[in-house]
Symmetry: C2
Subunit: 185 residues, 2 copies
């Protein structure tokens, strides 16, 4: 970020009055350009014991498997975003069953939210961002071909809880140092 | 947003290739300037039966009472942000006890997260953004002088669950049409 998006003046980086952090500040129109983390919303879509995954048709992580998820848009809610992303990437309608995981990914300034979801039908088909969409039994999940660490964490929790049928919210943080390299975004 | 923050060229508003929404796109450097909702993080800080509130020293809602909360910063986690905001606004350290509410506020493009928290001591004192910080017994909460609808919702749930001692996560959406005018941000 080099120029003011309001008036095009070159930005200065300094601590604004009554603040404690350096921000991009416009010396002309005085706008402070804050930068904040983004929210990624997605689902764990299930049909009986099986879980729906999408194989990515785009970078990053082309060809690897993921839960349907993407950036939350303005003027929508977290639940609307999760349903929309599932429809866009897997072509299928779901009914949400509660927030299942909230995972901070501070090294890329993101927070990932996954909702438990039930498929309303089996007429799924890959959207533009997916090569393939299919259901996996818990024992067949392609653990070594998953795209993202938050997907890996969420699926591990979910599969371990499928045995008991008791699901609960998981709040966690991605520790970059503890993450296998192939899983880092 | 009128100019590219990377190269200062006047932006165009159009649907980028492989997208379905209008975005601010730079015709010169081709950067797509996405705009996404922001996260507000805060706490419900308790000491035995009492709840800590801060009286706002800044606009909006100057002079009204709020739970300590503010915008999540980059390079921090949601929990770190909630602890930081509590320290900045109330001058006190807390120990978090889990996510308590997640409330979408789509008309201002925000998602508010409140964590249950226990005060580690009683040496609180107002930061720059607070006129006053004090503990309230549930029956004394100033319901008609609360600053924000998400604070009102979270406190209502919390106080009603204090009777039973059984707290659970609340996921909700602010419905602008159903909100008393004085509570709208």
């Amino acid at each position: 970020m080099k120029f003011c998006s309001i008036c095009s003046t070159a930005l200065e980086f300094k601590i604004p009055p009554s603040d404690s952090r350096k921000r991009a500040v416009c010396p002309c129109c005085e706008t402070v350009h804050y930068v904040n983390p983004k929210i990624v919303v997605g689902t764990v879509p299930v049909w009986k014991e099986q879980i729906l995954l999408c194989r990515r048709a785009i970078e990053p992580q082309y060809g690897l498997w993921t839960l349907p998820a993407g950036f939350m848009e303005i003027a929508e809610t977290t639940t609307q975003g999760a349903v929309r992303e599932t429809l866009e990437e897997a072509g299928v309608q779901v009914e949400l069953k509660g927030l299942y995981s909230m995972i901070d990914v501070p090294h890329i300034q993101q927070v990932h939210l996954f909702f438990k979801a039930e498929l309303l039908d089996l007429a799924f088909n890959p959207g533009n961002e997916s090569l393939e969409v299919r259901l996996f039994s818990p024992k067949d999940i392609p653990w070594d071909k998953l795209a993202f660490v938050t997907v890996h964490k969420t699926l591990k929790w979910f599969v371990s809880e499928q045995d008991t049928g008791h699901y609960h919210l998981h709040v966690d943080v991605v520790d970059l140092a503890a993450t296998p390299t192939h899983l880092v975004l």
